[in-house]
Every structure is written in C-alpha cells, then in structure tokens.
C-alpha cells in the first residue's frame, strides 16, 4: 500500500496551489477555480484519512463530510459565478485588478 504521507503531501500541495492561484491570477473565473482547488485539497485529505485510520476498514464519516462539502462548494461556486457575471456587466472586463474603486 502507498503510505499515508504521500496522500497528505498531495493535499497540502493542492492547498498551496489553490492559494497561489487566488493570490496571482487576474481572471475572476480563475479565482473561483482556485477556490475549488483549495476545497478539493481538504476533500483528498478526508478520503485519505478515512482509509488509513483503521486498517482493513474504511470509515464512512470522512466520505460523508466530503459529499456534504462538495455540494456546498457547488453552491459557493454558483453564487460566485453569478457575482462574476454582474461584475462583467458593471466593469466590462474579467480582470480582477480593475475592481479597485473601493480603496482605503
């Protein structure tokens, strides 16, 4: 069996990739994608732990949290894309660096 630390390393790397995407991408839709990547990092971590906690048995608690969380992430993405649509109507661009009218 592959040892647990590889899965957790994968989850942490995904989380860092998601955060990098939120920090450095300009397109608003890419920011929403970065958010999804961050949430998926936690999902990978839950599934990995639910398999490795008790040997020979997969704990259903981890999987149930992931199912619930996927549906919430879908709702957040839907709401975020609605806001992106309205932002495009107001600002005529998808570049998040143009949304800087609110300062200080």
């Amino acid at each position: 069996m592959i040892s647990l630390s590889y899965y957790i390393a994968c989850a942490v790397v995904l989380y860092i990739i998601g955060m990098y995407c939120l920090a450095s991408k300009r397109n608003m839709i890419k920011l929403v994608m970065g958010l999804e990547i961050m949430v998926n990092a936690a999902h990978v971590s839950f599934i990995a732990f639910s398999a490795y906690i008790s040997p020979g048995y997969i704990d259903p608690l981890g999987h149930s949290v992931v199912i619930m969380s996927i549906s919430f992430a879908g709702c957040v993405t839907a709401l975020a894309l609605v806001i992106v649509t309205y932002a495009y109507k107001h600002y005529k661009t998808l570049d998040v660096r143009k949304l800087r009218r609110l300062k200080w």
């Binding site: 608003m28 949430v39 608690l61 949290v65 919430f72 975020a80 309205y86």
Partner: protein, 499 residues
Amino acid sequence: MFTPPLDTLLVFMIGTPAIGWVIHKKGYPKVQGIYASAGLLVAAYFLYGLSREVSEKGIVLITGPPPFNPPLGACLQIDVFSVFMTMVYIIIGLFTTVYSIKFMERDSGLTEYYTLMLGMVAGMTGVVFAGDFFTLFVFWELMCLTSYALVAFRKQKWESIEAGFKYLIMSAAGSATILLAMSFLYGMTGTLNFAALADRLANTSSEGWLYITLALVIVGFGIKAAIVPFHTWLPDAHSAAPSPVSAMLSGVMVPTGACVLIRILLLVFSSAQPAWQMTLAIFAVFTMFGGNLMALLQNDLKRLLAFSTIAHMGYIVFGFAIASPEGLAASLFHIVNHAVMKSLLFLCAGAFIRQTKTRDLRKLKGIGKTMPMTSAAFTIGTIAIAAFPPLNGFWSEMMIITAGVRAEMIIFSALMLTNVALSVVYYFRLIRIIILEKPTKVSKKATKAPVLMLIPILVLAFLCVFIGVYPVPYIDASSKAAEAMLNIGAYIDVVLRGL
C-alpha cells in the same frame, strides 16, 4: 428534527418564498417582512422554553437514533453559552427585520432578502448549537452563503458587486482552510465530535500536527472574525451592503466567528493553551490598533463604523485570549453590548443615508437639526460605544481591562486602554459632525425617518441606557455562559458517558 428554535427559523425561511409567490399574485407589498418578523418572534418564544430546559439540565444533547449517536453521528449540544448567543442573534435579527420592512420597501427581490436574513439567523444559531464539526460546517456554510448574497444584494450598483466578490473569495478561502483543519483533526483522532476530540487530544503526543492545525483554525475562523491581517473584506462589505444587513453582519455575524473560534480552542486545543493564548492576544492588539488607526482617516460614515467594528473585535478577541472566567464573561458581555450599540449606529446611519442618499460625512454635517430623534439615538449610541460611564460600553470594556490585569497580561491591558482612549477621538468627531456643525445643502433637505424605522432605533437606544444603568443581570448571564464554556469536563461527560 433539530431543536424547536432552530426548526422554527428553518421552517419560516423555507416558507418565505412560498408566501412571496402567493402575495406576488395578489399584490400586498409588506407581508414578507411581517412574516419574517413573526417567524423570529416564534423562534424567540421557543428559545425561552429551551433556555429553561438548559438551566435545569446544564447541557441539552440532541442526537439521532442509536446507530448514529455520537461519537460517530452528528449532534447538537446546547449549553448556556449557546442559548445566550442565540438570544442576542434573535433579538438583533428581529430589530433589523422590522427596520427593513420600511427601509427596503423600494428594492426588488424582497422575498429573497427575507429568506436570506432568516437563513443567516438560522445559520448562526446552528453554529453555536453544534456539537461536532460536521454540524458546525453545515451551518457555517449556511451562514456564509446567505451573507455573501446579502452583501451583494443591490446588484445594480458596482460597489455591492465589488465588495461582494472580495468578501466571497476571502471568506470561502477561510472555509476551505477550516475544512483542511477539520481533516487534520479527523486524521489525528478518527472523530469529528467536539467532546470526543477534547477527550482524545487532551494529552496528545502529535505536537507538530496539532500546532499546524491550530494555525489553520485561527486563520480560517479569523478571516470571519475580522482579525487584522485577514480583515480587508470588512470595510468594503459593510459599506456596500444595505444598512440592516450591515447591522446584522457587524453586530452579530463577525462576533460569531470569534465565539466559534474560542469554543474550538477551549475544547479541542486545550493542550496547547499557552500557545494560542499568546497568539490570540498579539493578534488582538494588532486588530485593535488597525481598526482604530484606520477609522481616524475615514470620511465615509459606514466605512468608519466598519473599522470601529474591527477595533471592537480586537477587544473581544483579547478578552477571549485571557481565557479566565472573568475574561470570557467580559468578552461575552461586550459582544452583547457591541451588538446593541453597533446595530443602533448602523440603523441610524441607514436612516441618514436613506433620507439624504449620501454616505459622505462632509455632506452629512448638521443633520441633527433636520432628523432630531435619529440623531439623538445616534449620539447615545456613539457615547455608549466610546465607553462613557453611565452607558453600557463602559462596563464591558472596563471588565475586559481588569480581567487582563488580573491575569498578568498588563502590557496588553495598557494597550487596550490606549486604544479605547484613541477611539474616543473619532466617535466625538462623529457627534460633532452630526449635531454641532451647520447643516449643509444636502442635510437640510432630509426629512424625519419613518416610524417603522424609528421604533427599532429608539428601542436599541433605550437598551443602551438601560443596560448601562443596571448591568448586573447581564453580567450574571455572561458569567454563567462563560462558566459553561469553561466546563469542559461536563461537556465531555454528557456525550461520552451518556449522562
């Protein structure tokens, strides 16, 4: 299904679109607001019943049938602290809903507005009732989603959309961080139940992962609780949201983040207590200074009040960082006071903005001459929040400072005292602008606020004075709630020993 108050809020939340659809056919405009307020009143009645049950039994545990009972299944674990916070949420929610019946009458989409408001109150109630991380996360996401939609509610204006997008990205990143921390806790112990986690992590051996998870928890909940490096969404979101929504966000939702944070830190991370106490205290000092210094520079009324919220969250988090019974009781009492004072200020600001269509303090000068009752209430709220003796802000802030001194955190208490003194500068600037200056052209055209908006404002102003003059019952209630928070042994026993 759940407990009666939470059930009522959820049922009314789902019923509001049905009512909205029916009256859309008939054409009566204000029924949704009245239905939502009625829902909150019914929830308050059930909450009173629940509070009597909690004061008899100590902790009320609501679980599923035997295969799904804790530690495997989810549960609601209601103690005095949960009931205390829910009372604040429902009362402030009731006042803002009654206020928005008149304030939001010219907006479209009112059905969705009242649904989202009830959903936000339901989410916050569920968050403090939760007995394990699964339930907490479900209700936390409910609270977050409804608040994203409420901040971006006036979608025809660019400001709401920009503020809403910024808030959504930052807050959803916070939720993802919380989820990652949950997964690490699950990996360390095999359970998500608070009582079981407290039991298994009390004498832990995996020190490194515990500290990493602690950092993730503080970051994740700190984004919502407006702790300083993570506070940047707050000024934009609270200025751009409609005023009743700002009152709810500022007054009750931001302190909810801090409450859940301290609950998790006390229960789950009790073995790392010195570490998180010092971390929270340092963050609290940065938050206080950040909020107060930025508020000195503002010319926009709601943005100034938003930065003032950040400063008060600094005081509350400092009280939590003290982690002694007096410190926790002081912070809980300050949450009550801040909810009353800050929602009063935001509702008055909403009245000013509705009558004059501007948020700029330079144009709102002298509005006290044309809107006397609102300005009187605003002045009472500002004097209260600047911590002047006969009003309620003074008692809670003094309690936090003395609790800090008693717990040997003297430098932090001195810094908090400096901040309270510093904040008086911009609060008195507000009073001077509203009452003492000559009216400008814009403020001369303002008319008096409508009665339905004045009622919540005057009741909240009366509460400021009432709590200030006789704070003893409220201090007692906060002390009982703080004791319940610190009584970790009883919390664990109810779930694990089946008592």
